[in-house]
């Protein structure tokens, strides 16, 4: 794999100093640090200044895998609780939450209820969901769509506007075929084309999905077969931020005006691409686990090009 996939966040049209200044402005009261290419934050205990109108923050949570009992973390419910505490400590407070799938571990009974209930404790308003393969494989999405189904014909894909930013939730875990990869499918791609057709190219776009929409590691299924076709309709936009889960690790890639960000899980880490015999839960020493789990804050500053993505590990 190329270094590009693990590269640092590259701000668009700003040097690093300008970028950090922008971050500091967006989150007064937060100490910003860069460690290993990943931006982390720690609260200073100061009150945040009133954000400028039109600027806002939201949080991403991913791969909660409730029902997982494996050695990599038998306490997935406890680390979900810690993750919600992290969300509640974010400054500025997120205005909503996006869950990028694998809510449940293999649709274990009671898992959806447990996560829905737990997230009521997150001080982040509404929660937007998109499914992971663990949430839909047993019944083709029947239970998931019954609970969270949104968008045209209850398909699970959706879009909404928030303070001038256009959000698009895509589903790339349904209709898996033997020997194949996750895909968006013709119907969803046609919907996406229509969904953005009337938008000005200066509209900031945020896309969220479960499986990466870029080729992280196809050999492990860490890509989406027809993502290029779907994202082709977003190339004309000046700022496109793509958020995903599935691979349980932070990774970034920049392609033109599209920036891809893969998120941490709240349940267990996975190996780096190709660094194990296969993907799957990675058992690490207990004192390292919480450094590999966490949530993410995304800050939109009106008038700035690119959204700032800040990782917030549990430890």
């Amino acid at each position: 794999m190329s270094d590009e996939n693990t590269g640092q966040i590259v701000p668009d049209g700003m040097d690093r100093r300008g970028f950090l200044h922008c971050l500091a402005w967006a989150g007064t009261g937060v100490l910003w640090t860069v460690s290993g290419g990943v931006l982390s934050s720690a609260r200073l205990g100061e009150a945040a200044e009133t954000p400028t109108a039109g600027s806002f923050s939201f949080a991403q949570i991913s791969d909660t895998h409730i029902g997982f009992k494996g050695a990599a973390n038998p306490e997935a419910m406890a680390t979900l609780g810690e993750s919600i505490a992290r969300i509640n400590a974010l400054t500025p407070a997120p205005e909503f939450l996006i869950h990028t799938g694998d809510i449940s571990h293999a649709q274990k009974p009671g898992a959806f209820d447990a996560v829905t209930e737990a997230l009521k404790g997150a001080k982040a308003g509404k929660v937007f969901y998109t499914p992971g393969e663990n949430d839909v494989f047993e019944d083709g999405g029947k239970e998931y769509l019954g609970r969270y189904g949104v968008g045209p014909s209850h398909t699970g894909w959706q879009s909404f506007d928030y303070k001038g930013v256009h959000f698009i939730g895509l589903v790339n875990v349904l209709n898996y075929k033997a020997g194949g990869l996750g895909s968006l499918g013709t119907e969803q791609i046609e919907w996406l084309e229509k969904d953005v057709a009337g938008l000005s190219s200066s509209t900031p776009i945020v896309v969220f999905a479960h499986v990466p929409l870029w080729a992280v590691y196809p050999k492990w299924g860490w890509t989406t077969a027809d993502a290029g076709q779907g994202l082709g309709y977003l190339k004309r936009f000046g700022s496109v931020t793509v958020l995903n889960g599935h691979i349980h690790q932070v990774m970034q890639k920049v392609e033109g005006n599209i920036t891809f960000h893969s998120a941490l899980s709240t349940a267990f880490p996975q190996p780096k691409p190709g660094m194990a015999e296969g993907p799957g839960p990675l058992k690490v020493p207990a004192d390292q686990l919480r450094g590999m789990l966490g949530v993410r804050q995304v800050n939109y500053v009106q008038g700035q090009g690119r959204l700032a993505v800040v990782e917030s590990p549990l430890a």
Partner: protein
């Protein structure tokens, strides 16, 4: 094709692979799959002839094959995982 070796009718799922990925058995054999991964896997017939539920660590699924043929299957959580049972 060589005569089928007397195979133990067991398929282990490990590191996101079915081992062996081709199992040849006589008609009437009950084949068992066991999941050795910490990920959940499934055994789903591509032609919809049989279907396991999600199998967690060390859980098993069995299917008895009464008709000769080649039965391809895959994992609906990790579709790159595919294998087959040949029944003679």
């Amino acid at each position: 094709m060589a005569a089928p070796a007397p195979a133990k009718p067991l398929v282990e799922i490990k590191h996101h692979k079915y081992v062996p990925d081709t199992l040849t058995v006589p008609v009437g054999t009950k084949v068992t799959w066991i999941n050795r991964d910490d990920d959940v896997h499934t055994v789903i017939s591509t032609a919809e002839k049989f279907r396991s539920r999600g199998m967690d660590t060390d859980e098993q699924f069995s299917q008895t094959f009464t008709t000769p043929g080649t039965y391809e299957y895959f994992c609906t959580l990790h579709p790159l995982m595919k294998a087959k049972v040949i029944v003679k």
